[in-house]
């Protein structure tokens, strides 16, 4: 019986995580203790302050390169960069979540227990204030994501996965309008998420079995142990490869890569739009942060083995996302498929095993997050009496009705299409360049070709907005209050700045692009 030793913990380095989780707990208390009319302001302020504080701590510990809490958390360049990215994007998402000027009472349901489509439900939709539990849920999710990108062993990673997924399932169900759609989305997301978690967990077990099967070595699921075990000539490679495949499936599900993408369009469409934005930006960062760490740290030496498979997944993902985006008629589903295609491009970055590749992938995550949040911010604005008008036919002629917002959305779409002088071009460039240097020409060719296809649905929306006559049913754009405007402008400006002068952020990413092992 060995003596139980407490691991040393560097509290300063993990303070962003502690701040977010602490604030979430505090938020639960606020729900219980603060009078109803103040809750919204208090909760929103609290959440934003927490994000700011956590971001400050991330910036302050920018040079930290340690593994702490036993082997559980790695606070290194990629962790800090991605944590910073998650926090900045989460702040934007919080602005969207907190907005109550676009829809009276906010985008969330006032009483979740009311039966959908009933008379009570119509009454709650008419402007009673939304639930404020969304803030603690969001902060929990952010905290989980911060752990997810820092996790240095598979069990911590699994816990973090659940910590950020469970609040998201709930958040998806809380739309104020079209509640059946929203609840259905949440149910699907939950069931399929649990299913994917099972794959992940089974993968962890197999990997543990694999490390335990190597005599004379410690067994475990922390990345250093796995890395060392992979480096040995493995005694039971079947366990390794099966485990690696199952882990990949769990992570690719969260990253929305084909063929594990099926939930994405339904969930993106059904969830309240601010939550969709949050998922599209932050979940993507978290999922790819974990993918990068698992495949570039733990399984780095099996590079030659996983590249063909993940490459095929990447090509399939790009193809599915791009081709199906063409046929979409709902703007949220269109953005969902575009997000799937972008997962494919990001996988190309994951498979470029160089510093440049890692830097490019991280840059891409940030750039895409800004654009996609701005896109969903615009989606919240285009609405009529029944809520958001997401069917594409409703967007026809929007450029005549509201040229300013149509122009902003056009810019975002051009960025998605990878038109130069937007971040969409620079980020694709930053990924494809290193991938080509890493010998992955086939992935780059597939990427270029699919992005050519993908430009078509985007430009179709542009043409519809500007060149079609406004129809009877073209809604007007709600002029947003300060919160949504701030999020929208930040997103658009970031898309422009990262497209015209990407060098500072690229330098930052390049400086951070090294894992500690």
């Amino acid at each position: 019986m060995t003596e139980l030793k407490l691991p040393s913990i560097d509290y300063a380095a993990i303070s962003p995580i502690l701040i977010m989780l602490g604030t979430a707990l505090l938020g639960v208390l606020v729900e219980a203790l603060v009078p109803r009319r103040w809750r919204h302001v208090v909760q929103l302020t609290l959440a934003l302050l927490a994000v700011l504080a956590a971001l400050t701590m991330v910036v302050l510990s920018a040079d930290e390169r340690i593994i702490t809490a036993g082997q559980a958390l790695a606070i290194d360049g990629p962790t800090l960069f991605l944590q910073g990215a998650i926090l900045v994007l989460a702040a934007m998402a919080l602005l969207l979540i907190g907005d109550r000027s676009v829809e009276r009472g906010g985008a969330f349901v006032a009483q979740a227990a009311v039966t959908a489509e009933s008379a009570d439900d119509r009454r709650q939709a008419e402007g009673r204030n939304g639930l404020t539990e969304v803030y603690p849920l969001t902060t929990f999710a952010i905290g989980g994501m911060l752990i997810f990108v820092a996790a240095n062993d598979l069990l911590t990673m699994f816990i973090a996965l659940e910590v950020f997924s469970l609040p998201l399932y709930l958040l998806c169900a809380l739309a104020r309008r079209r509640r059946l759609l929203s609840q259905e989305a949440a149910m699907k997301y939950f069931l399929l998420g649990a299913y994917a978690s099972a794959f992940f967990l089974f993968g962890v077990a197999l990997i543990y079995g694999f490390t335990a099967g190597i005599p004379g070595r410690p067994s475990g699921v922390d990345f250093a142990t796995i890395h060392a075990a992979v480096g040995e000539s493995p005694a039971s490679p079947v366990l390794l490869f099966a485990g690696m495949a199952l882990l990949a499936i769990g992570l690719l599900f969260k990253a929305a890569a084909a063929p594990f993408h099926v939930w994405t369009p339904d969930v993106y469409q059904g969830a309240p739009t601010p939550v969709t934005g949050f998922m599209a930006a932050c979940t993507k960062v978290a999922a790819f942060g974990a993918l990068l760490r698992v495949f570039q740290v733990a399984f780095a030496d099996a590079n030659w083995d996983f590249t063909p498979v993940l490459g095929a997944v990447a090509v399939l993902t790009m193809l599915v996302g791009a081709v199906l985006a063409v046929t979409q008629t709902d703007i949220k589903r269109l953005l969902a498929y575009s997000s799937i295609a972008n997962a494919g491009y990001l996988l190309v970055g994951v498979l470029a095993p160089s510093r440049d590749g890692l830097a490019g992938t991280m840059f891409y995550l940030v750039a895409y997050g800004f654009s996609v949040l701005a896109a969903f911010a615009v989606v919240t604005l285009v609405r009529d009496d029944d809520g958001e008008a997401t069917h594409l036919s409703r967007w026809a002629g929007l450029g005549r009705r509201s040229p300013f917002f149509a122009a902003l959305f056009t810019f975002i779409l051009l960025a998605f299409a990878g038109i130069p002088l937007t971040s969409g071009f620079t980020s694709k460039f930053a990924i494809f360049g290193p991938a080509l240097e890493g010998g992955q020409a086939w992935l780059v060719i597939a990427g270029v070709l699919t992005s050519m296809i993908l430009a078509f649905p985007y430009l179709r929306v542009v043409v519809m907005m500007w060149l079609s006559e406004p129809g009877e049913s073209t809604p007007t754009v709600t002029v947003p209050g300060g919160l949504t405007s701030a999020a929208l402008m930040i997103g658009v400006l970031a898309t422009l700045v990262l497209g015209v002068a990407p060098a500072p952020l690229l330098d930052l990413a390049a400086g951070a692009a090294e894992f500690v092992r």
């Binding site: 699907k188 079947v238 099966a242 063909p308």
Partner: protein, 641 residues
């Protein structure tokens, strides 16, 4: 061949080269952002911006003449720098760029002026000028960039503006379809260019023109061949060359000034610019040059044959553009001194083709937007200025002495005969045959429109000449069509040889025929073709399609190239989409190209969205999981790696 390419730093006045791009761009932004408030004066802002750019371009040109090293570059800022990838946001002003700048802004200015009147009845005139200036800015960026990434910026920009302008009249479904076709075919070319640029990165490590050109010598023959073919694919897409030629004639659905500026004078010549600019790459591999020459020769014949069978005035002109650009590709593909000849032809073509397009617009303006040449006839009496100016363009394009086409086209024909083996006969013969065919179909167009009996539709009583604002640009362009050829042919080649990296030595072969013989032959086929057409069509033509032989039927159907495209690209594309949609199994209402606008929204749709079953999702995830597992294990067993 092994001379190094070196660019000097831009100083003094030339430090302001960026203004050339900035001025049209800012004016476009103002027009778009101000919205309706700018409706009354917006078009004049558009014209003034291009005028200012032309004046600036002219002063930069004179400045450049006085310099020792006539290639100056201006680095604005470090654009992308990740690891080894460095891309500069920089401009290059050299003799090649300078002539393009003058063409784009000069001809562009005249077409802008014309468009003020031509679009005066259109509610969207301000928007039109905004897109138009956006196009000019992008085109200038394309020719002024100092690396391939900058060129790609401009390339995408002009593609975007052209797409918007072709579909400008969205109330016409054919315009929307044409816009889509142009967009898709251009994407094929763009993909080639993009992959080419990435290959450049991977092999040379840079995209700066000077470094790429100096590094080409170190590459293997295969790399150069692949790189060149990809660039050629890009060039063919943009310039409407075989096999990507089909979009250009359809693009005529846009307003006529757009056809004149974008699809005749400037954008479609971007491919020629790309090849001329990349001369050191193309010169490094003779197979590559042979491919370019073949594409040029084939396209110039395709254009002529189809052009002879079409009855839409703008489409005939469009096919003639395809064919004339074929001559330019022939020229740049021949290499050496012929590069400069191709550029001369490009400039001269910019004048006379813009002239004829604007003339066609003027005819349509007077004939209630009729485009069918079988419905014209006898217009010379009613539209004197349009008739005379169009005549100058016609004489120029068929290469009649002493009009400009003679001085620009005939040297290319001579150069085609100067190859060392039997291909001299092949390509020279094609060029000569093309000259005869060009004379035939252009004369047919001219005679049917302006001479012979009147075959107008009943609603036209008295066609009128266009207003001054339209005829003055016509007259100026007609002057260019007469005089430009001689002036250009005597000055531009010398000027262009001072472009760093352009020109180079040319192993001169004696032509298989003497120069005089070729000149006489080409004049002879021209006169023959024109005379034959005049004889056949002097008495007009039937106003409905007549039964015709195999060749004419094929030509009317674009030599079946559309059918081939459909079978090769469209059908598999639709099949792939259907298959994926089937797998995706829900949420789709409307197939490929089903414009959402046409399908009404409705509540039924919401219900239909509820048909996705979690169980089928779970099954597909399981299937995917099994596949991924199997693939991993297969890799491990060594089957896949």
């Amino acid at each position: 061949m092994e001379e190094t390419v070196e660019y000097a730093q831009a100083t003094g006045l030339l430090g302001g080269v960026w203004l050339l791009v900035a001025i049209p761009l800012v004016s476009a932004a103002i027009l778009l952002l101000l919205g309706r408030r700018a409706d009354r004066w917006g078009h004049w802002l558009g014209v003034a911006a291009i005028g200012a750019a032309f004046v600036l371009g002219l002063s930069f040109f004179f400045q450049l003449r006085g310099l020792e090293n006539k290639s100056v570059e201006l680095s604005l800022w470090d654009f992308i720098a990740v690891g080894d990838l460095r891309v500069d946001f920089g401009l290059l002003f050299d003799p090649l760029a300078a002539v393009f700048v003058l063409l784009i802004t000069g001809v562009g200015f005249l077409i802008h002026l014309y468009a003020v009147e031509y679009m005066s009845h259109d509610a969207g005139r301000r928007r039109f000028f905004a897109y138009f200036n956006l196009f000019v800015a992008a085109m200038l960026l394309l020719v002024l960039g100092n690396n391939y990434v900058m060129l790609y910026f401009g390339w995408e920009g002009v593609g975007l503006a052209s797409y918007l302008l072709i579909s400008f009249w969205t109330d016409r479904p054919s315009a929307a379809t044409a816009g889509k076709k142009a967009f898709l075919m251009n994407r094929v070319g763009d993909a080639g260019l993009a992959i080419g640029i990435f290959i450049m990165f991977a092999t040379v490590g840079t995209t700066q023109y000077d470094e790429v050109f100096n590094g080409v010598g170190a590459l293997t023959g295969t790399t150069v061949l692949v790189l060149g073919l990809l660039l050629l694919l890009g060039a063919a897409g943009k310039s409407g060359q075989f096999p990507l030629q089909a979009w250009l004639p359809d693009a005529m659905e846009g307003p006529t000034p757009v056809s004149a500026l974008i699809h005749a004078a400037t954008m479609v010549t971007a491919g020629v610019y790309l090849i001329a600019r990349s001369n050191p790459i193309f010169s490094a591999n003779s197979t590559l040059q042979l491919v370019v020459v073949s594409v040029g020769a084939l396209t110039l014949l395709i254009g002529c044959i189809i052009g002879a069978a079409k009855d839409d005035i703008k489409r005939v002109l469009a096919w003639s553009t395809v064919s004339q650009i074929g001559y330019m590709f022939l020229g740049v593909g021949l290499g050496g001194a012929a590069y400069a000849l191709a550029i001369v032809h490009l400039l001269a073509h910019g004048f006379f083709k813009a002239n004829m397009f604007l003339g066609a617009g003027s005819v349509m303006h007077g004939m209630k937007d009729q485009v069918d040449i079988r419905r014209f006839g006898g217009l010379s009496k009613y539209m004197k200025i349009t008739w005379l100016t169009f005549m100058m363009g016609w004489l120029a394009i068929i290469g009649m002495f002493p009009f400009s086409g003679f001085f620009s086209k005939e040297p290319i024909i001579v150069a085609a005969f100067e190859r060392e083996d039997w291909t001299a006969w092949l390509f020279g013969g094609a060029a000569l045959l093309g000259a005869g065919l060009t004379a035939f179909y252009m004369t047919r167009l001219f005679v049917l429109t302006f001479h012979g009996p009147q075959r107008w539709t009943e609603d036209i009583e008295h066609p009128h000449e266009s207003p001054k604002l339209m005829t003055i640009p016509l007259i100026l362009l007609a002057v260019g069509s007469v005089g430009a050829g001689f002036l250009l042919a005597t000055s531009v080649p010398d000027w262009l040889t001072e472009t760093a990296g352009l020109g180079g030595e040319h192993a001169e072969h004696a032509a298989v025929l003497s120069h005089t013989v070729i000149t006489i032959l080409s004049l002879l086929v021209t006169v023959l073709g024109a005379g034959l057409a005049w004889f056949l069509f002097r008495a007009g033509t039937a106003t409905v399609p007549q039964p015709a032989g195999v060749l004419v039927t094929a030509a009317r159907r674009n030599l079946y190239t559309d059918t081939v495209n459909e079978a090769v690209f469209e059908k598999p594309g639709i099949f792939l989409t259907r298959a994926l949609v089937y797998l995706d199994n829900r949420g789709i209402d409307g197939l490929v190209n089903g414009l959402a606008a046409a399908v009404g929204g409705g509540s039924g749709r919401l219900r239909r969205m509820q048909t996705g079953f979690v169980r089928s999702y779970a099954t597909s995830i399981l299937a995917g999981a099994l596949l991924v597992m199997a693939a991993f294990l297969a890799v491990q067993a060594g089957w896949l790696a």
